[in-house]
Symmetry: D2
Subunit: 357 residues, 4 copies
């Protein structure tokens, strides 16, 4: 079973390999009569597109999306929307010498062991190139959510270097190649990542994505809790190793008094919360506060420094990966995390309408 | 849509409220001819059962499980297994004064906002009592996995107090009321939790669950990645706020060289890994190493110290919760985390057989 | 994989064997704040209940339903509703001599071959007793649909004897033990079925179920078409061998001119159809006309006349089934068909709200 | 919710409209290391391809399939297989005068009512052109089933004219443009369909599809019964109005003695059945006998004879459809029925391996 579909009512099925002719997805369950053009999707793909700075892979992919179905005269029809993105800058020969070796930290070995073969060109199906399809689907999810829901993301840690939350400025996140909301940190990261990049190394990162304007009531206890679905969505992103909601891992250290987000009377009958340790979710259901999710991504496994490994025949060897890689995949994980957040929320908006609408 | 089923082929549907006549679950997809008795399930329920020490709720529930279907002459038949656990020690009057107020940090408000009514008795459906059904299902999952897969759990942090990993001794985890693998830490925790309990307060915790003996190849990219499914499973547990696999959140701070779990030739053609930052999962597929998952749970929201809140009419008020509560829900989350880990692995064992068996 | 759940948003999971302690189901996805009592469900169970005339099995089961969860102070809460029906009149010894033989036409052989064991007592999981759980779920589905949707069923053929459609009178369907809408046919059937019953034989039947008041727009092309879902729902009923919608099988013989349900202007902008060959469904979506579904059930396989068979050891033998059986299972299939129709419509009502509401 | 995915483990998601740039599907869950080329799929598409005789639509579509993913060096990889078929012979102007009118018997009205808009060009998403994607997926399903399972189909009735079962010859089904296994009937049908075609009329049909070599044990009681899944699969085909298994609707008229497929000792421990009223399925599980399914399709709704209808503004009018249409859609439904049968069996083969393998 290779399960390439996510969502319950707003459902996206992705397909494609890094060095195949194209990648894409089918987005099903979209409500009808939503205005949708390729430009609505392209703007988000452009945010994720590689090769926009020296800090991401130098593979040149325009990532131009084509809508093949489900839209008629500029509106969604309720039918499945098929999206296709051609692969253009494919250099498969770069990979010929890793064809028979497993990169430590990479999916090479597990794909080989599970399936008995693997498309080694550019990581094949395991390539983070798959995330372009997620971003495209996320663009449609944003349309379903409408303008009242604002989804944003930022990189908040690169390697050992965290931002200073005091400096948080969303405008900054669009002003540097790191989606970093702290201008001072961004400057330091630039220097550090140049060093890492030139050394052929890589580094991990922490990403934070948020949604404002989410209505109260989204989520479905117990096994489609909004936080559980978000955890799966973020952990399904390439290289993700941890996910947290609101106060997250730090909740372990709190007392009940500290953790409680106290409530006061707010507008229009809704309470006003005095803090947001919950990250906008209680009992698996949105509270109306901002949804706050963070996830950690590990460093790229394709590095120049030789590492001990084995080959497909079981022999001990070493591997050093050339090719074109992101020195910090966390950067491009920002728009991907945003897309996944949008997709989960759109799905639950439809689900909530079904049961409680 | 209230989604109370989890799993794809090994599927569990739970039902029941804290103060209803019973709780239970239906476990579907179980292979036939597996020996199964109520005692096989009871042993795990007993581990989670409340009232076993002064550190958990004093509600007296024997949690006796009845198998109502799916087993014939001591063997599973392939038909759905219905499990029922009667609620016995119900004191609903304890809750009458929180009937119209929302506990900060609790699902009270969101259930009320989403559904327009709520069963306030003991938390109703949102009660952690639901986890007894998960533990029962997990017992069946263990049977499917067989003896070669060993699943264990431990509490590794209580409030600000972490265990010392150097002291890790699995035998200790069964020897104290905290499932704490560090004897020294357990002694300190006892003192600390007595203090918290007497103060009517509560504290968060971190739980680690592990599976040894998992075959290589379980997991399904991209949206049923083993780590994504585990993240959802753990985050669906009451009070969970964060989940991480292997090195987890700390991966953000690593370089590619540090993160790489190098490989040497191992036995029977499988590689031997020199470290396990991956926590046993690469590309969403098990590597054959130990699966290592940690999750953080927030402190119980039902505390004696008054907190600011609003009532169902929107008026500002305060709330102090009496009733019987766990001062640290993290303790009983240990067997629950184990059960969820077992359930996810059993599901993926069946899925892997289907596609690659 | 034993798949005992049906529905997408309104989801029912059934469990239980004919001679186990109980049968039941969990109904998930029910909207909150719907008034629901056990009496609302019991009325439909009573319609299906065995032993009400000499034309059904003489097993005495009161089929008293208990609501174990999901209802609070007389209203649904949005949480899963667990329903339990105790088995009371179990005579397992009746089955001891068929324990090792396969009844031709029955699931005995296939269960044995698939699972390697079978609960032979009363047919175990394969028993039509399972349908009581469906009827209980159907009662909740009717509540979701509301009073504007009227679901009715009738037996329209027993063995070779069809009703005369000219005589159709819904009042009659409640006035005889056959749910037969043709009083003249009912009288003839009584005589015929007495003969069959006394001979220890059995006979097939055709059932028609209808829904009036269904709003236009329910259904989801292409793989959740309303007719496809109804076909699966009816074919999942024990002994069903064929399903048709509207003109059904007879459509094969028509020309395009004959088949076309012509339209004239109707009330409130909706068209008025001049015929209903479509059975209320076009392109998998409801038209607003009556939904009309028919399904054929084969005769009960448990008969007194000896039939050639083999035993579990592969030896040739004969079998004659005693025990208590329905001479015409089609009778009790009427309320079951109604329940399945209600369940499919309720599910699609929620689905339609989600995407187009 | 527009649900364009079918299957549980072997899952196909189709997309595309009649007059869009392309149609296609994503086939997920395919086991790895199955040899697969475009030619393996093309052979079945060619069987369904329009314009091969004067008895089908004259639209000229080569239906050339491209594999965009999931295959590497001639073998499946376990990743999703994306298939694309370009639309080439699109004449949308043919449809401009039916843009605002509803064809009686067609999905025009219900799509309009449900979605509030419709892609009227060539039927848009409701077009039978969608079935090309099913046939492509069915080709992969056949590869999963392997050579031991043989799937064949035939048209057994055209309008009022049934074949004579005595004349059944599978070789004939490949020798005439009707997939008719009775040479004499085929000759008569040719004459009759010429008449219907020239009159701008259309006619219904009955299709029979069979699978030989199916192992015993496939199917999952109760809601994934093999017959229930086949019923849904066939009823999801455009124009289908009824489905039956084995003796089918005629079961209603039988006695238990007549219906029973008696058993004698067979080879290798499996019984030999003396008849096949069951159509190869008992209790929802395959018996090892041939699976036999029939389904009725209504006549094409697009006919030249004017029919009464209304327009999108609710005004009464008439409609006569020009354009290029199949006078008997039943012909091309034969390879579609085969594909759906293959897909359901492949899915259940994987499911059976998971639970009982």
């Amino acid at each position: 079973m290779s399960f390439n579909t996510f969502g319950r009512l707003f459902r996206t099925t992705t397909w494609g390999e890094s060095h195949g002719p194209a990648i894409g997805c089918v987005v099903d369950g979209v409500p009808p009569r939503i205005p949708l053009t390729e430009a609505d999707i392209q703007v988000w793909l452009d945010k994720r597109r590689p090769g926009q700075s020296r800090y991401t892979t130098q593979r040149k992919e325009p990532d131009t999306v084509e809508i093949l179905s489900g839209v008629f005269e500029g509106q969604t029809t309720g039918a499945p929307i098929s999206l296709l993105i051609a692969n253009q800058d494919v250099r498969s020969k770069d990979y010929s010498d890793i064809k028979d070796k497993f990169r430590p930290g990479h999916a090479d070995y597990t794909y080989h062991a599970k399936y008995g073969l693997r498309d080694y060109r550019g990581g094949g199906r395991a390539s983070a190139r798959e995330t372009a399809a997620r971003v495209a689907a996320g663009a449609i999810a944003r349309k379903i959510l409408g303008g009242a829901v604002v989804i944003r993301g930022a990189m908040v840690q690169m390697g050992a270097h965290k931002i200073d939350p005091e400096n948080w400025d969303w405008a900054q996140a669009d002003a540097n190649p790191f989606f970093c909301p702290d201008a001072a940190a961004a400057a330091a990261w630039a220097e550090e990542l140049d060093r890492i990049r030139k050394a052929g190394s890589s580094v991990g990162a922490m990403i934070q994505v948020e949604a404002a304007g989410v209505p109260v009531g989204l989520g479905a206890p117990h096994y489609a809790k909004l936080d559980a679905e978000l955890a799966a969505a973020m952990m399904s992103i390439h290289a993700a190793k941890g996910v947290e909601i609101g106060i997250g891992m730090a909740a372990a250290a709190l007392t009940g008094e500290e953790n409680a987000d106290e409530m006061r009377a707010g507008n229009e009958g809704a309470p006003r919360f005095l803090s947001n340790n919950a990250g906008g979710i209680l009992g698996g259901i949105s509270t109306g506060q901002d949804i706050v999710v963070r996830f950690a991504v590990k460093p790229t496994s394709s590095i120049l420094t030789p590492r001990k490994t084995v080959d497909t025949a079981g022999n001990e060897t070493e591997i050093a990966t050339k090719g074109r890689h992101d020195p910090c995949v966390g950067i491009r994980a920002v728009p991907v995390g945003e897309a996944m957040l949008a997709a989960v929320l759109a799905d639950h908006l439809l689900l909530h309408k079904a049961q409680c609408g």
